[in-house]
């Protein structure tokens, strides 16, 4: 077992990507993801990789697209306002079936917003990360260790299904240090990518990486084929974590940073005799609908905790088909909720501390 070291979430994401065989990084500076790019700038030249600071987030995502089209593992990282600029490239990559990794270390929006931690890009990540009928894989780690662990998994899953993956983190996870154990680099998958545009060496027909289908029936067929793949992903790649859920009557649903706060509140509620539990989606797309629906059997009420005005809460309501009351608690704009506030909400649901 490798020694545990203290690392910032941003740095753990970067090193894990290198360990996963990603040697092409294209970025543009933005707080609070800066350490990720800085780490890449330091490491990449020493290992024969590429760190390139692009002239814009738009350019950076398109460099990633070029690298992905050429068949190599590539990534970019940014924070909320920068991700908005990357949506063009993300849509094209979905349309051209290209795998790549995009990191969003979220900060408060809209507009320039703030630089403190936020989860207000949930809708963007899971509903409309670009124009068109599309999905991307969205992973939501809640610790530095999980940030490191999900990077390789995100790359592998993106390669497997030929689509972009996003790690949706936030300023708290990016900036905090926790003990982390990094897996060594032997999991750098050598994926066979026969579709890549990297020179046909006069051995095959030319490959075309493209998202343009001018014939409506062709485009529809292409999208339907992609949605069949999405169905397989929903059936096979959903991830979520449960805490004290066995007999839970009051189910808190939270992901990423806010799930840590919710966990503290659930633990405290149990100490106070309230049957509280926590479901923590790890994949936000595909969303763990089945796990949440199953929890409705014992549940009296649900509480969604987010660092936003309430975005994932809609998906929770849909997952249980509104069969139980679903309430929301959160802060936005860069404020991290306090466990005591969440506990108070749980107590309110359960009719007071027991």
């Amino acid at each position: 077992m490798a020694e545990k070291i203290l690392m910032k979430g941003n740095e753990a994401l970067a090193e894990a990507a290198i360990q996963a065989g990603c040697l092409r990084f294209f970025g543009y500076p933005i707080t609070p993801q800066t350490e990720l790019a800085a780490y890449m700038a330091k490491r990449m030249p020493k290992i024969g990789g590429t760190y390139l600071q692009a002239e814009s987030e738009i350019s950076a995502i398109n460099m990633v697209q070029g690298a992905a089209a050429a068949g190599v593992r590539a990534m970019t990282s940014s924070s909320s306002p920068g991700i908005s600029l990357k949506t063009e490239g993300i849509s094209y990559m979905c349309g051209a079936d290209l795998p790549a990794l995009i990191i969003n270390v979220q900060r408060g929006g809209p507009g320039l917003g703030g630089i403190q931690p936020s989860q207000s890009d949930y809708w963007q990540a899971t509903k409309a990360p670009g124009h068109g009928d599309l999905h991307i894989l969205v992973f939501a780690p809640s610790s530095v260790q999980e940030m490191a662990d999900l990077v390789g998994h995100a790359f592998d899953t993106a390669d497997k299904y030929r689509m972009p993956a996003m790690i949706l983190a936030d300023g708290m996870l990016g900036q905090m240090m926790e003990p982390v154990e990094l897996k060594s680099g032997d999991n750098a998958a050598k994926q066979d990518k026969p579709w890549a545009a990297c020179g046909h060496e006069n051995k095959r027909e030319h490959n075309i990486v493209n998202s343009l289908y001018l014939q409506a029936n062709e485009l529809e067929a292409k999208i339907k084929e992609r949605f069949e793949r999405y169905k397989i992903i929903e059936d096979n790649e959903t991830m979520c974590d449960e805490y004290m859920m066995e007999d839970a009557e009051y189910v808190v649903v939270a992901y990423g940073a806010s799930s840590r706060i919710a966990r503290a509140a659930v633990r405290e509620a149990r100490r106070n005799g309230i049957k509280a539990g926590l479901i923590r989606p790890i994949t936000l797309w595909p969303f763990p609908k089945k796990d949440i629906a199953a929890a409705a059997k014992n549940a009296k009420a649900f509480l969604c905790v987010e660092m936003s005005m309430g975005q994932m809460v809609d998906d929770v309501r849909l997952a249980i088909e509104c069969s139980r009351p679903v309430s929301f608690f959160g802060h936005t704009g860069g404020i991290i909720p306090d466990p005591a506030e969440v506990l108070a909400e749980i107590e309110k649901l359960s009719g007071g501390a027991k």
Binding site: T50, G66, A68, A196, A197, G199, I208, N210
Partner: protein
Amino acid sequence: MAVVFKRPHALLDVPNTYCPGCTHGIIHRLVAECIDELGIEGRTVGVAPVGCAVMAYNFFGCDMIQAPHGRAPAIATGVKRSKPDDIVFAYQGDGDLAAIGTAETVHAATRGENITVIFVNNAIYGMTGGQMAPTSLPGQVTQTTPYGRDVSIAGYPIKVCEMLSTLEGTEYAERVTVDCVKNVNKAKKAIKKAFQNQLDGKGFNIVEVVSSCPTNWGLAPNDALEWLRNNMLAYYPLGVYKDKSAEKGAEK
């Protein structure tokens, strides 16, 4: 019987999508001939733009990537940085390269990105039906400058080769045209040099081809070429704007 003229191998035997009299066909052929002559088709990756040449991926025999509007130099950068031994070219029009993709173009050039850019300048947006381009001439009538391009409102056309030649990373910038056999031959020489420079690892290469758009200019093909000679070439003089290696050689 001796074959004296044939389709270049790197140009596929498929019908293209260009209008009659359009110069894209000639330029495609020149690019393909250069790829053939340099023997690089197997390791060449082309990047198609958004615009009339959007479906260039169907016409070239090398591997091809279709880029978002204006982003071809960024896509090309991603390919080149990932596969440094590949020969990467971007094929772009004026709206793509000099309007929406200005930042990508300027920064690929200033980084000295070792790629080749073929820039087709016909002073109009062809694909969308004849709107003002960043290179439309002062006074030029287009769908969106129905009274002629008024520079007090729409500003001035961008002279791309002149602009890029100021950048340290630009190795080679030449403006050519394909209005007659003599100029076609010159254009081919320039395109070949722009690829050879990449093979030699010299940096950013751009060949601007002053072109015609009979359809959207509303002129017959020959009249369009006449208009090109009389109007375009006055604003966009042909010639070598930068040849860094040659300049260094001359200094010695």
